[in-house]
Symmetry: C2
Subunit: 484 residues, 2 copies
């Protein structure tokens, strides 16, 4: 690494020094986002937005493959609608933005900028649903939502963010529960396979469930600083909303019944998960399946060979682009190859293709992986076939590495002193027994800042032992962690 | 047509009886949208939204092919930013929604819900642009915007609507003008080829240009009631915004210069254009390229042959779906074939495929076109190959018909009495000379409700004759029309 290159990397604070600053350095420097001149809001710059578009594509396909259709509901919700479901309004009213004037007139009823759309969608469902033949209703919406946050952090918590929210209505509990679980599984599949982020699936506690839900399920991921991030939630809303919004249907048995509902969502905070699970001190590391640029071609052009190399590079670039690869070529003259290597590593491009005069003579190119730095030379004639295979390998390796990290940072204990020590020194996921009462849950949170992330499905059959806090009989094995 | 079928069609008011009611009947009955419980807002239902998604895909591809990238800027704009450009604030301030409270606190500065994003984007560009090497900046955004409207109509004018807005910055006037014209041409290409809606390209008058622009260009379409609809606009913003937002760059000659900017947008009102250009008294008629459902397969199933027909229909359906056709099958038992024919005609599906026992025996299916009602029988073995060809024909025919209508309803006159009579009796596009002064423009509007839609490019070389109002020397040939 030359002097110039070191300086470059120095612009990113090492994770070990200040993780939070590292994160901000990376998102700004890689031009994923910029701060907006509105408190708590951000601009998603083209590089960050292209990542989001690729994520949307992978998730939207899965949402449609499971029978859902997209629609669009209004941004504004009348205050009276928000207030219909008691738990829901209690959960959201303190953090909404209020529209009070339209044009030059004061509104007779204040409007809420949607923090989530259950209420306005329920209002419509009560009109649209009459008979069992109208069910199930399977609708999803991609949109922006606003929650007035005190402390914000790019992608992880901002006043406005982008997300999808699914809202479905069913004939009975069984179908609603099946849908809720199915969509959690869709999220798991998407996050693990497309984003290479391993997650723990489970149920939220009563305290942590969605405001207005019967049951909430979540997928929880572990960031490289040992803190958890809730990566997606799926709610069985029961008949709570149906009862206050009067969403009934005439069943085939002639009886009028309330529908059972679900809702589920993931947000742009998944971008934060990608950054914190895969990123390192050199910057971003993006999974090939969603990376805006999968491969960067860098021609090495000493003066004498410049023309020749550029001409061949352009040819290779065209062929690879035509093959469907998301590739860019960096032939800027004002930067050295070393500078470019760092730049594209920092931007997390999974694969670098170097092409110099000597490579040309040998009819080959040098491929360098972002995930492990491995170099290999590949014949030019084989690039089109080989690169997709290599990208698959990178994708798999990124997932495996993250999975291994999660496993190595998942600890199990039934001793509260050890629990506190781990939470202080190592963090990570802490598997422990819990009696099921909110007092213990609150006490642990107060004393260790750790919350119950969820009650994992995969530990349901195991003996929960004793409650980590009160020592009474455990009801569940749960995962504690400090969380974003 | 049986009695049941007539009743069905009766639910849509004929266009000749009440065009406005026809429009509302169609959008509601076809489940394109529904009214929301918020003044002036609507819900875009899955069938309407699927159309919008297909439109987005076709336009987004063109926007990216011309070198633009998508990004996302905040929904909220601080009042002080909106007020920086004088013409801009004058144009938009009267019609914006104001956020005054966040959570339980009153904001120190009111926020505007974006009516368009020039100001907040300029604020960012002033940070991002330093050198000529940073130019051009070519960014587009798909989002929702809000304009507080007094009188609203689904898709055509609603308080909230969806759109894309492109915002670019360039080194000089020439590049900015080239971009402005290029994007107008992108719109023309998209609207004419994908939506089968012919348009007139031209320049807006000073009176009608965008608030803050140097020059505005538009594409104007003619609806089947003879009223015009502005289908897209592209603005050369000059250096107006650059000067107030201080967007400067160091040019290669060492001088600090203001950037030249453009912005351009189309909205969900294009859905209204599709409805009003192609729809008829039976309902919607959707162009194959963007129709959510391109073909509807209806098995005709007398009791005896039911099982056999359904099994073959399922097979054909699977093959056609696999081939990439957007096809659905309507095998509901509770409705008659005649009812279904009407239903899917009303929903504007370009092609109906009928499959009955006799067709099966003959190894064929009956294809019925929505655009002209023509029926033909086609061998089952040829469906996969033939249907895409037929859809192309339908697309072309729809465009040709609309183009012919536009031509037949474009009148030219230099006599103001005749002008008024045409505008009263036939409407349509009225080509006439104009002296270029706003007084004549205003007078014509007041007396005939017709505005100058644009100064068409294709008439620039012709002699404008005399001004239709004052009789002085004409400066331009322009198109007058009453407009949505």
């Amino acid at each position: 690494m030359g002097k110039q290159d070191k300086e470059f990397v120095k612009e990113i604070t090492p994770r070990s020094q200040d993780y939070s600053q590292w994160y901000l350095d990376v998102v700004l420097k890689a031009q994923m986002m910029d701060y907006a001149p509105v408190k708590g809001c951000m601009v998603i710059r083209p590089y960050g937005y292209a990542l989001w578009e690729n994520m949307q594509q992978g998730l939207d396909r899965r949402i449609k493959d499971t029978g859902h259709q997209n629609a669009y509901f209004p941004l504004f919700i009348p205050e009276s609608l928000l207030q219909k479901e008691a738990d829901h309004v209690e959960g959201f009213a303190p953090e909404v933005a209020w529209v009070t004037h339209g044009g030059n007139e004061k509104l007779t009823e204040r409007l809420v900028v949607r923090p989530t759309s259950e209420t306005i969608i329920c209002e419509m469902y009560s009109r649209w649903i009459q008979s069992y033949r109208d069910l199930p209703v399977l609708i999803n919406q991609w949109c922006n939502v606003v929650r007035w946050e005190k402390v914000t952090r790019p992608f992880l918590r901002t006043t406005e963010f982008l997300w999808q929210e699914g809202h479905t209505a069913h004939r009975n509990e069984e179908e609603a529960e099946e849908e809720t679980r199915k969509m959690l599984e869709v999220y798991r599949d998407f996050v693990e396979n497309d984003l290479a982020v391993p997650v723990i699936c489970g149920q939220k506690t009563e305290k942590e469930k969605f405001a207005g839900a019967l049951r909430t399920y979540s997928i929880e991921a572990l960031m490289s600083d040992g803190k958890a991030l809730q990566a997606g939630t799926s709610h069985n809303l029961g008949t709570h909303f149906a009862k206050v919004f009067d969403i009934t249907y005439l069943d085939s048995d002639g009886e009028l019944k309330y529908v059972w509902q679900t809702s589920w969502g993931v947000t742009t905070r998944l971008i934060g998960a990608i950054i914190m699970v895969h990123g390192d001190d050199r910057g971003l590391m993006l999974p090939p399946k969603v990376a805006p640029i999968q491969a960067i071609l860098i021609p090495i052009t000493p003066k004498k060979a410049r023309k020749q190399v550029l001409s061949k590079a352009a040819e290779i670039f065209a062929v690879l682009k035509e093959s469907g690869l998301r590739i860019e070529m960096d032939d800027r003259e004002e930067y050295s190859p070393g500078w470019k290597f760092n730049e594209w590593e920092m931007k997390g491009v999974p694969l670098r293709i170097e092409l110099g005069p000597r490579d040309l003579e040998a009819g080959q190119a040098v491929l360098v992986r972002r995930d492990n730095g491995e170099k290999e030379t590949v014949a030019l004639s084989e690039l089109t076939q080989y690169i997709p295979v290599l990208l698959e390998k990178i994708q798999t390796n990124m997932y495996q590495k993250a999975k291994q990290f999660m496993e190595e940072n998942t600890h199990r204990t039934d001793d509260y002193q050890e629990f506190k020590q781990i939470m202080e020194e190592k963090r990570g996921f802490l598997v422990a027994g819990w009696c099921g009462c909110v007092e213990c849950e609150n006490a642990v949170k107060e004393e260790t800042k750790a919350t119950i992330r969820n009650i994992p499905f995969h530990l349901q059959q195991e003996d929960p032992g004793r409650c980590i806090y009160c020592g009474q009989d455990g009801k569940h094995l749960v995962i504690f962690a400090r969380a974003y």
